[in-house]
Symmetry: C2
Subunit: 373 residues, 2 copies
């Protein structure tokens, strides 16, 4: 194709005008739709990290065994190797990049003191940062907070700020139950949490509401505690005025929102009985759901019930469920397939796979993300 210099100049001028116009970038980049997985954990850590943690825990009883260094020695090649399985799944499933945070069940906020959590969070967050630096096309960081049961979450502000400002992390996981299944701290809507929320708002990053491992034998971590916590957190938000106090605070409820979409009628009815406004108005300007739902009928329900503007693509790969579904011969957690089967409109697909995450996590500020656009 012959293109004259004048044509090129004209096109460049139009592009400049478009860029200056403030039209969202998504509208400009129609050609390629990104697929952003907003919920990935680093669940394939080198053994050195687990040894470090075990030593840290042993030192709680016997200070003489304290880890010899502030962080475990793990080389760049080890880090690269450790996430090859994620990269393979990204390629195979057609995911462009993942928002990547430390293993959720590994946060273990119930273990030790606030200092224990602070040390452990710094180590975990640093590894995430290094992976995002080594593989900038594939990962963007989300952090772990140094929460500790009974300790005011003000102690998390410093790490939140460090992760966002120094590492460029785009969000943090917030544990609504640092006690590990005994639910002893105040609900998420209590003023207990407000100083931390102020920092989230100031930094303009969202919180994914994600518990860690349960030490309560009543709650299996992956099938009991996670689902119960997602549901519990949503109901806490429903009964509160949190988003009147923090209209700009954004929260993601993972695992498709626990029981919430399945019981959307119950939640609409509960809000109505409490003389609250409709859920769309009460919560859906601030609360988002991910798509970690591991079968087709569940995914269908999610999209029937929750407005598409509030759904963010996610798989939690490599995560809770590692098997292949014999009914489909595909991985249970290959959630993109279920969404593809819904045959959404092009606009809705783009929202779920790309623009909702860009909006909620303010991804356009992130250098790794800008490589894709």
């Amino acid at each position: 194709m012959d293109v004259s210099r004048r044509d090129l100049l004209r096109t460049a001028g139009a592009l400049s005008a478009l860029l200056a116009s403030g039209i969202p970038i998504a509208a400009k980049a129609q050609a390629k739709q990104l697929v952003i997985d907003c919920h990935g954990h680093y669940t394939t850590e080198p053994q050195e990290l687990n040894v470090f943690r075990q030593t840290q825990i042993a030192a709680l009883k016997d200070p003489s065994v304290k880890p010899s260094a502030a962080s475990p020695k793990i080389g760049d090649d080890q880090l690269r190797d450790s996430v090859q399985i994620q990269l393979k799944f990204q390629r195979e499933r057609g995911t462009d990049l993942a928002l990547f945070s430390p293993r959720a069940s590994g946060m273990g906020h119930h273990i030790g003191t606030a200092e224990t959590s602070a040390d452990w969070s710094r180590v975990c967050n640093e590894l995430i940062h290094r992976i995002c630096t080594l593989l900038p096309d594939n990962f963007i960081g989300v952090g772990q907070l140094p929460q500790s049961p009974g300790v005011k979450p003000d102690n998390c502000i410093e790490e939140l700020e460090r992760c966002v400002k120094s590492y460029g992390f785009v969000g943090m996981n917030l544990n609504p139950d640092p006690s590990g299944g005994y639910w002893r701290d105040p609900p998420l809507t209590d003023r207990w949490w407000y100083p931390l929320y102020e920092k989230f708002v100031e930094l303009d990053v969202p919180a994914m509401i994600h518990v860690s491992a349960s030490i309560n034998p009543n709650f299996n971590t992956l099938g009991g505690h996670y689902m119960a916590a997602d549901t519990t957190a949503f109901m806490q938000l429903l009964t509160s005025d949190l988003f009147k106090d923090f209209p700009k605070l954004r929260m993601i409820i993972p695992h498709g929102g626990g029981a919430v979409p399945f019981h959307w009628g119950r939640y609409r009815g509960l809000a109505q009985d409490m003389k609250k406004p409709p859920l769309e108005e009460l919560l859906l300007k601030n609360v988002y759901f991910d798509t970690c739902v591991y079968h087709q009928p569940g995914m269908e329900l999610l999209f029937k019930v929750i407005p598409v503007d509030n759904i963010l693509f996610a798989s939690e790969m490599v995560g809770a469920i590692r098997g292949v579904d014999p009914r489909t011969d595909h991985y249970y957690d290959d959630t993109k397939r279920y969404i593809d089967a819904l045959q959404l409109s092009e606009d809705d697909r783009r929202k779920v796979f790309e623009t909702n995450a860009r909006h909620v996590y303010r991804l356009d500020r992130n250098a790794n993300f800008r490589r894709h656009i």
Copy 2:
């Protein structure tokens, strides 16, 4: 129509032969399909009952205020009047009868001692029995157990036996968390519960797994604790061999199973990762779900995912959600409408509305039930 005496005799003979044949009664009574609501609570109690309970609670601190009688004085007319709203809804919605138990949030097992719970359970169960006696066409009793946190559930055996043998109750509500939201007792699969299960099996009645009110500020009772507990209980069962030990034990998970049907893929995957047999084999000979799901898409999912043999019609009327859905102009908890809209086959309808409940609760043994057949 003229019918000869010989025709009548012949018909009577055929009927006798049919009755003697052992063919299930459902197959004989094809003409009229019953609608059995397996989940109703007595939530419209006369004020006297609440005063009695408040006095009982006050007496825990000050024994001088102990209730003057073993039970509150409530007349038959008062009882009849108190359930007129249930009768009205039964007529309007086309429900033939309800399995009726004391208010679930009122069980309050966390309050006082095992003796407190024993006294309170006897009072509540007696009222249910009186209502079932006064209105035998409309109600069949299900009981409350005198559980108490930290107390071995062996203490519930006597009341279970009394309710079934003296009152003809067809099941009992079993609270998986008598601590009221702190989850301090062992999981349902622990041997802690086994003596009670032995009695359930001996009496051949099922347990509905139903928590009571939450005193943990993290859990809203109706929107947090109930849903979280349903999900938690199912996951406890999934990880255990309980039904190998009790192959005849039957449990109903209320509120559509909490998050379970929405996350059926996750639960199938978890069982598979744990090298367990498929859920159908592992749990579905013993575990049933009710239909307390308050919107059409949720009900559709339930029936898409859970085998129809494991679904029992229920509304929890008059219960958690009392409002009218402005989108449909019908009560949220008028669950029969959602099922009607599914256009199930005649066989499946009969299972969900009638025969599953007859099977799970062994209703044909109950005198009130036999009035309908």
